[in-house]
Amino acid sequence: MDTQTLIYLFVGASFALYIGIAIWTRAGSTSEYYVASKGVHPVLNGMATGADWMSAASFISMAGIIAFAGYDGSVYLMGWTGGYVLLAMCLAPYLRKFGKFTVPEFVGARYYSQTARVVAVICVIFISFTYVAGQMRGVGIVFSRYLEVDINTGVMIGMAIVFFYSVLGGMKGITYTQVAQYCVMIFAYMVPAIFISMMVTGNPIPQLGFGSEVSGTGQSVLERLNGLGAELGFTPYTDGSKSTTDIFFITMALMVGTAGLPHVIVRFFTTPTVRDARKSAGYALLFIAVLYTTAPAVAAFARTNLLTSVPNTSYEEVPAWFKTWENAGLIAWMDKNSDGVIQYGPGAAFAGKPEFTAERGASGERLLKNAPTPTTTEVYVDNDIMVLANPEIAGLPGWVIALIAAGGLAAALSTAAGLLLVISTSISHDLLKSNLMPNISEKKELLAARVAAGVAVVVAGLFGIYPPAFVAQVVAFAFGLAAASFFPVIVMGIFSKKMNKEGAIAGMLVGLIFTFSYIVYYKFINPTAGPNEWWFGISPEGIGTLGMIFNFIAAVVVSKFTAAPPEHIQHLVEDIRVPRGAGAAIDH
């Protein structure tokens, strides 16, 4: 069978599986729809959380980003895993004990305030839409690359699938689909990683191969990378170029942001007991760690392959994958000195993303419209290529390529579904049921949740088809805002009995407004500003950490000067601190 047929087969089979699961697990009550009746086994919940968490960006782009950033890429590895330690110890068990359906619901109840709840809902919707737009785009890209349909058709197929199983199944359907998606995704990631590790080092375990010798050179992978890089003028792979302060702040913002992301937190509402909520945080991180410890190894192998096979090679002799991905538009070569040989070094070869003309150059390369930069480097390599091209670089059979396509789709769809559910829940439960239409029946609330999910899918799809130019930049928003708003407010709600409504609202507003303004200023109004203009050298990606600190300070100061929370709130806090009495799903 040729590769294209295999891709259709794998992707088709995985979609049939997801739809089958959705029909089998469809939701009949709001409790099933919002939190899967709190009946999900911790191991399964861990897998579902892993799939929910690992997005198209983790699956497709992360290894590539690390391959080009070297040590600097560590911020993502530590940042997107370390948050689970905070979740397991500071949030998950207590929120599960609280026993309701959504994060704004907790904020509203703990701070006895509808205002706080509404502020929380707005944050949830903003953070989740930001995130989901990127996922839909990811679905479109995988489709266009592997299934030879255009991006927009791809987005629409993706929308239809997500619509079907999130609207029908709610949290219950999504959870079991995500379990299947985790399995597809991790298998698809590990198979090429294992082969490429064997190819480069002879060791089948990527995490160990990462530290082994490159076959036939007597040098370890990292020594070789530093050596090859130095010859071409790159900073050493293991050193990186960001300041220590910035690395610190970005890592912290990503960790705390992870712990404050509503679609992650809500997963811990679905376990049967408090004990299981803790345990499933452990399993979630274990399942995530499989991919996150493999990614830096894949990054190093891919970078080694790139640096050994491309620089100073004539275009005619370059490996076939170089031309394949050039044709796909993810690699570009601008022969600046017209010698027919590929020069590769630090910096960008030309301004912006490649824009090809229809013509071919003297060596047969695709010509570009972009303005060249003064550097000598001639190559553009897209981050995504490291994972996508690996099977070809390693000379793997067609079914592995098909597997990557199915895996990338699983990663994007699972995250999109989790986010859409959070959006629909916030609208039907936190806005309609608690604010606008308190007398709504359960049946109608369920219908409202489904309609909201449907509308959200369409809006997310439109973002995918007409991506706002700022999609890449807004990821900093999602994490920064989650770090500066939810995390402090929830943690203080659990660990301080004295924290009151005024303190919490002041803290959220200070954290939000500060973080929002800083990101808007340095990303959109003055994007050329560099580390010298940033406050203390903190980039917009890391500013959520400072926002979080301001949130804590504002909340503590304001709460000292205002009335303590009422007696029953202090009892509520005492109650959520002990596991006993969590019970099954709590009715409203």
């Binding site: 397991a88 530290g211 370890s220 992978v221 220590t244 274990l286 410890t293």
Partner: protein, 88 residues
Amino acid sequence: MSASKQEAATAYWKENLRWMLILLVIWFVVSFGFGVLLVDQLNAIQFFGFPLGFWFAQQGSIYVFVLEIFFYVWKMNQLDRKYDVHEE
């Protein structure tokens, strides 16, 4: 809650906080300590083919995070029973 139960709950919370603090210190040291602040010093040490600081930043800290959560799960299950606040 009766007085003795109240006391048990307070003691449980205190011990929980103590373990949490210990684990958070470890969490901070392996990632922000070894992987960020001390990375240059540790990189002078070779560890199974890795500069040690780099290994903590891209591998070691993640392994420690996983172990920490499972330790916390085990410890808390023990404390739940010790102070008789476990779920039925």
